[in-house]
Symmetry: D3
Subunit: 245 residues, 6 copies
């Protein structure tokens, strides 16, 4: 089977890391196609960037012409999953929800540890819409941005490990979802520091997408995620309509 | 003061109707500027169209060069308000939230009556994020689309009146928010049929925007709605970057 | 238009301050009539005093013989608003709910900072009934009573500023509602110390009352707030029935 | 032990019926003193009447000069219990909460069946404040007023039996709390028609009050229900201050 | 009347202490029969032990051949109450729920203070199923096991007193339920240290069971707690079927 | 990998059907071992039977001596999963939770359709503990028992199809979880009648168990699901201790 995995920002190295991580989790016979949007921010750390990413991801997917079996949106706490579900026939999995759903099989409560304080409400809101907050112990931020994970990894890792430890000891989390990607060593260090299972959203999403495909299940089309009604849509897809705008 | 009010779809006649409605509610001295996005669907009845509208609205607002004091997003149950709040210094008011907040001053429970069944979950989700569902009796749909309000108004009105009546009698709503716009007679007929106050989102939003401006209140910038961090954003605003895409 | 604003305690200087604050927020052409109840406590800091105030406020309003367009109950976290809504045809606005509704347009979460610890549950309960707790970060108390705000303002302000700061930093509030009135400088100092918008309940209530009147909206009379059924009520209004008791 | 039980309306025959019902549930050695407020409505069917009753009940209790061990407020869905808890050292039990607490020991979900539709929100709100709504299946109204229970008992009983049956069959209630008093035969008929346990609030409250006294437990005085702070209260108790008003 | 009270563990000295405590709370004429399960753990501090206790308690009760009027399950946060309700005609009272229900009559919020951190989620989950968490301030653990209460009582008491104090001061509890039994002095010391009422689950359960019996109320049999359908059950009761397994 | 899947009742033909269904969903290389408890009821339709099943399942698993990688508890709405999580090192997946988690990836709201009305509260309670009720539209019962699914399949299927249709049309479910197993044709007929995706708990659980194993994730052992503390457990495992009881 072929799974498209969409980075939400325009940083190609992060797309590559996401693709690599997805391939590690994939079953034999699953092909992972990682895609980078053609417009948007080089990192998503707020609502404007996230809304722009939502459209850029849809824009990218609808122009992808090869067949595929499922789509993963690989941004933590980002907008847009519902739009993809309307546009596509295949299952769509968001990594924020995939991580939380998986965490709930492993412990009584879970926490999400992310980068910036300002993205905490975005993650909380996406989990609220997904109906996954009853067992959410906390969403905690390390205070360091997405790109600092790459520029000063040691300090970034230390801050995330510290917040994970507090989540387990004070907030009573029993599982940690890492709400930021791209660092193999991060997961290992958080696990050692806390003694709890660490869930990576990308890997969780790959296994869920594979499972849905294997069971022949796809998005319900009876109401919320029915295909868009036929109507005039000006300037879509944006990248193809560019000259007309 | 000057208030920008943004239609979320590309149908100019609806923008005009929204502007007229807003002007009716405005205080003396308030100038209403109604704007139509430059791309998107001619009516928003689902997530894809709503996400596209979110970006089209932001795209329109950031290119508006005259001074203004507040912005109203005039789509019922639509995405995007949080992005505007990040991008702008002035207060931003969404009509779905304005209507619900207003309704809560008038009765113990309120209902929203809208057009299509498929938009019910969008409205429910926006009200959930806004923290306005505790006193929500129901969101009900007439089963007729946005554009049918214009093409077969008599049948559309009858269907909306009927759902409003059920909301009051069965769901125990004491106030009705009309989740669809553009018809002066609709409001009067629903009021007569149900005997309850009818809240129009556009008018409610105008009074709230005016009030915030008069009190000197604007969006908090300490966390969720802080301005976007400085970073590379490719292809923004979309209409200006068209050639580059 | 004419708006009655009711102090809930019997301290005339506080009625005056409330009236002055209301007039600052009022539009040109709005007349503010501030009223003091004829019985009750000189400050409301608990349930007994608040229940007594509820009746004293109703007793005052029903004996007011001039025409008016709206009524504001100017007590933070007090009982009684529902009774006024039954007795009156005009809209009734409670300042606790007005402040919270307004705050929700300005930030993702809000806190209320009040005087005494013992009034925190009253405020929480009123917000719970109003359906405004989903985005409530916290209700915090400075530990100083209502009258100490007047007797030792410097210490009172410092305590309220400190709790507001904690609300923003620890509880993640992005807006502060001041649950205590009468000090112009307080608002400014809290804003400077926290960097977030400060909502004053009296002013918020005035703008909401004006808006409802302008839109021609008033309390729904179909169920909860229908006029009292005709029946024998002994000793009402209390001040007129005094001799009979 | 001696228990005061307070009717919330001024109808002496209902006070008598409440007292009789309480005595049936009381243990040997428990003396029941039933009291009628000196002012207020002859039946409580809305917020104004309920707020007035709250103060009239407090006014009656604070002037009662004999010793007693507990107080029961015998109105369904009425305001005021928190005020009594502040004013008194002995335990205070509200019949709405007593019935619901008792019902929860008997079935998975419970319903309340009451008289008028307009009192449904009052009962819902009191149960919400009491934290007793998670297992509440419904509050249903027969559509007949309190006094009609006495004037046309047959029709009143039939209407209440019908709503109880619907509560069990449609709302999945497994226990019924009767939110209206004074008819011995009513309880039996509802039980026969539904096959579920019927909880009477007055009797439940008597057993709870006795239990609290026997265990030496009384209202916590550390915060919410601390005695009122010393201050000037004008016109209290109202019946004694009558001449001064 | 005769009430069976079931210890959930196999430690006879704890059964004795539970029986003694129950007898202190019982009315004259109430006979308390304390029973120890015939299999299971010598203390219940987790789910496996609790599930085993659930079955051991049912196994014990169904083999008890004398008549009785009510059953109390005397384990804090344990599984099984619903099973007893199906098997028996008489009322069944769980001490966790009895304590919480009682606490809610005494203060605005309550906390439970228990022994081990690992039992906190069990207690939280039982209270969630019972619909008693809205006014739950916290469940706190002293960090000491059930049997340490007997082996090093001084240290155990100090730890529980400390957590109770934090519950009142930080979590704003106004009542404490002690989620661990068997020590008369513990209750007194916690009361002195905190100034709030202390509720003992065993005593609360005895008064509730007595009250239900006196009112002639018993478990609803229309749905959830209907008797088991006639079917083949292998190996039940376990202790009688032992040879067959 | 090897996955144990535990039937919760003692009917061998149902164990076989569960095993067959699991094998259909399993990846190549996954071995499914289906197990039947050695005691308990021949179908689980209530709390007593479910608690007994919980212990019988644990009793069976702890005596299984071959190595395995994950355990699935294949009963809908049954007790016991938490106990297995304490006793085992490998991941444990409950089919009720697996189905609901999977359904949430496919539609905005989901319903569960089961057999008997009396099991509805059990399923609701398990989903409540699992934190999976926010998007639950309803749990509906066909009114026919587990064994009738085998004895009169045509009537049973018709009743389940009807309830599924109502769930979609009235309760607004977009996905159906079948809360009863063993019939291949049932799933197909419900899908045809409703047009929505149908989730089978056994198959969903197999894919989730496989995914957890592949990602190297297992139950968190830091608190709730830590191994039982060392202590004296009388009569365990029950089947081995039979002679001692």
């Amino acid at each position: 089977m072929r799974i498209l995995i969409l980075n939400v920002n325009t940083t190609a190295s992060m797309t590559q890391a996401i693709g690599d991580s997805a391939r590690q989790a994939a079953s034999p016979g699953t092909e992972i196609i990682e895609l980078t949007p053609d417009f948007g921010a080089d990192s998503c750390e707020g609502n404007f960037e996230s809304y722009l990413a939502a459209i850029a991801v849809m824009d990218k997917v609808v122009r992808y012409t090869e067949p595929y079996d499922a789509v993963i949106q690989a941004g933590y706490g980002e907008h847009g999953r519902e739009g993809l579900q309307e546009l596509l026939e295949v299952p769509v999995v968001d990594i924020t929800e995939a991580a939380a759903s998986t965490a709930q099989f492993l412990g009584h409560k879970y926490s999400v540890v992310t980068t910036l304080d300002r993205t905490v409400p975005l993650i909380e809101d996406r989990l609220k819409l997904a109906g996954l907050t009853d067992r959410l112990a906390s969403v905690r931020a390390s205070g360091l941005g997405v790109l600092e994970l790459e520029s000063d990894p040691q300090r970034a890792v230390a801050a995330i490990v510290e917040q994970s430890r507090i989540a387990v000891e004070q907030d009573k989390a029993e599982v940690i979802c890492l709400g930021c990607g791209g660092m193999a060593e991060l997961e290992e260090q958080v696990r050692e520091a806390t003694g709890v299972p660490i869930v990576d959203g990308v890997r969780a999403a790959v296994t869920i997408a594979e499972s849905l495909v294997r069971m022949g299940l796809t998005t319900s089309k009876v109401r919320t995620y029915a295909p868009p009604r036929p109507k005039t849509v000006t300037g879509w897809p944006l990248t193809q309509a560019a000259n007309a705008l």
